[in-house]
Symmetry: C3
Subunit: 348 residues, 3 copies
């Protein structure tokens, strides 16, 4: 990054663009965003968690974003706004704009004569685009990506290098796919027949809505008969596996390493913690929160937070308790017998 | 997909090819398979689960596949067969044949002069095939795949784009590897020596039998000294990790996100649920079923289903119970003391 | 592998190079290393676990590496050394040297005119190296890898095929990245604003120290503001996910399928079992061992082994015990009541 080339903005300009009230010197200029601990003289910081409030006293930041109820928590120049974290996101995006490669098809990309690529799109070296694929305006297809026959990619979508899109899948606009992502591989479908697995053709597609982001090495399988659907605004972290015929509701966010088995429907605005596992053929309501590491084996009909995690202990203590978990049934029997005996004694 | 180009088949033809008895109009023509809910007038559906039986009354399907004991559950034209799900798989494959690229080496593939590629094989753009590799009849090597030195790939096997095969690995016939698969990376082997890890060379191979399918981004490490072996007919879902020197028995099916640590031997016809984890150096008997999310830390000698999952609860209830799990040992002590006291009281 | 081309070494030579005392015929020549069970007449084996000691009686190995306290456990020629496993690693590396491709940029690699590639480096077909990237001495960039703008790769580092390095990331010397690895994708950062997620630009980098090895399809995200740091000597297995701004201490080893959420700091010399999950914003002390499958939701300040795994049982038994876990709180209440009643009875 070339520091000098980066534009600077005054607090007044930032508040003008993104909303908020400046307290202190509105002419202070900002070149970058930074955490309170490490921010320097031309940097803007932010406070979103009260627990870091004491850092406001010592930070070297030029200015800070604060919410209305923390407006007086700092003396340095500040912008008071409704949602400092969101404003920080906007300022960071303004100062660090997405750098996109120039439009055009690299001489070493392989684009089928029957594919349609917008003039404003960029196709990197080694990328392969098959027959009938459609690449929209200002799309970026990174180096060594593969876009299969008949796939359609909406405007402003970006595929980082080494992404694979199987045939006939459809991506919306402003989608971001990170490296290693695989969209539309065959779902895990087979029938046992006379001691051998028969493959069930996977003839559905994957449909991805607008403004979806998919983290590195996440895989989303195509549907068996119907389509797998990821609605708009869904955010998927790295190394997530989404089985065939799943349906993920709009604006749901899923943390890394989570698996969702086939035909499960997740609601809108859900949040799934890392390394969760959702069994197949379930329905999860809107606004459900699943804790990291939780296995969900039943449908969930009510919003709320759900958890299924064995609590961590030093191994020696765990050994004792885990052994007892395996014999809880017997412990329960002993308590029942005690209750009977105590009842008898009480009567006696 | 061009609907019109797809051939149609009469029920009589389908029953003739795949077995079964037609009830109703055997001349009804089928162009596609579909679920009961969404099937239309030229589509064949199927019933494999009694719980969907009521859909038979309302489906718009042209015909349906039923088992013998459900033969009278529908009035529409139907094929009665032993295993409707398997017959559905066969019909679906007939109607939706695997489309394979034409034979030949793409001008932008890089094939070493000392590699042997069958004339009937297809090698896509950007694929790299190193010295001494052997690519069998009708094999498809997708775009941007890598096949390392001395690797051998059996007839009719298909590598989707962006698959990596390290040197000397051996794949059987009719194997399917989905995008992102990595076969033969180094196993996780090292020795601690004076505060530093020494890498242990991984000089074994990966041997994959006939008719194996491997899902997107699954990784199978090469053996440290001996080989890692995946027997014929094994089906692996996406994002599975198989450590060095593992041996997976024939026709075992493993769901996504599962990890199998080094040197573990899994039997034949096992089924492992998603996000399971099998520790290293274990032996799992034939026909074992492991529930999703289960960590297996001991060998299993008997067929059956095994589970290790903390049950899910609303977070607030979980908090209370999880806290108690950490103190089960003390609860057990309290029950013991009660038993002693009640005994004394009984005597007294 | 061409057996004949491999050099052979006498026990005397091996002990001379790597330390240790030869007992028996020091002229015995070794061409390969092998496990005790399968070793043949020109092969060296080793014993690191007493439980395999009986194999010493029947092995056909030419010689064996033993520790001082097992010096007399075998009659065959042997090298007695402090750390037989480490010596085995060294002998294996001597006999099976890393084969590296010849220096030079393949005609089908795409290297930007403003990238710097050492003359001794090797860049494979299909690899893409962007503007300002620096590739050090003797580095190997495998086929179809991507090295983004401004990334720096230290001497002797090897990228196997299909690795992706995003812009500005920095790799040390002698680093090994296996296929499918993605370094520097955007971290999972977003702010909720009026019902939509706003992306937070991820402007940090990934810094990887010397002698780090990263397994197939592991992903390490770039920092949000500061950098994600992997210190020297860290060993990562396959399919691990490391979130933005994590810091992994030197010589820590992490087994496959493990996830580490953002901003967590892991100490030095830690060992994390497979499929573990570490929540975000935690601090884990040096020399902590986390059992496989364990979810860590709190910081750990003391060295030791920590576990959080529901014990496995046959499914039918699990059903009974899992149901009781969900009602532990009620069981505890019943025990409390019993204690009260017994107390009263005792008084009465």
């Amino acid at each position: 990054m070339e520091e000098d080339a980066r534009k600077s903005f005054s607090l007044a300009e930032l508040a003008g663009r993104f909303g908020g009230t400046v307290i202190g010197d509105a002419a202070v200029r900002i070149r970058q965003v930074a955490p309170l601990e490490s921010a320097g003289p031309e940097e803007l910081s932010f406070l979103t968690n009260r627990k870091y409030q004491k850092l406001l006293a010592t930070t070297r930041a030029a200015a800070v974003l604060l919410s209305e109820d923390s407006a007086d928590a700092a003396r340095l120049p500040r912008i008071i706004c409704k949602n400092p974290y969101a404003t920080y996101a906007r300022v960071a995006a303004l100062i660090n704009p997405d750098v996109r490669p120039a439009a055009g098809i690299h001489a070493r990309a392989t684009v089928d004569a029957q594919a349609r690529v917008a003039v404003s799109a960029s196709v990197g070296p080694g990328a392969v685009i098959e027959k009938g694929a459609e690449i929209g305006d200002s799309v970026v297809i990174g180096a060594n990506c593969f876009v299969g026959e008949g796939a359609r990619i909406g405007a402003h979508t970006r595929l980082h290098p080494n992404v694979t899109i199987y045939h006939d899948c459809v991506l919306g606009e402003r989608v971001i796919l990170h490296s290693g992502v695989v969209i539309g591989a065959d779902g895990f479908g087979m029938a046992m027949d006379d001691g051998r697995w028969l493959k069930i053709p996977q003839i559905g597609r994957v449909l991805i809505g607008d403004d979806v982001e998919v983290g590195a090495s996440t895989t989303i399988d195509r549907g068996a008969l119907d389509d797998t659907v990821i609605e708009e605004g869904v955010k998927l972290d790295n190394q997530i596996q989404i089985g065939h015929n799943c349906h993920i509701g709009a604006h749901t966010a899923i943390a890394g390493c989570t698996g969702i088995a086939g035909s499960t429907k997740i609601g809108k605005y859900c949040m799934l913690g890392g390394n969760a596992m959702i069994s197949g053929h379930l329905t999860i309501a809107d606004r459900v929160v699943i804790s990291g590491g939780t296995l969900v084996a039943k449908s969930i009909t009510e919003p709320g937070t759900y958890t299924a995690v064995f609590p961590m202990q030093p191994h020696r203590e765990w050994l004792k308790n885990a052994a007892l978990v395996r014999h809880l049934h017997e412990l329960m029997e002993r308590v029942r017998r005690l209750e009977d005996e105590v009842k008898k004694l009480g009567r006696g």
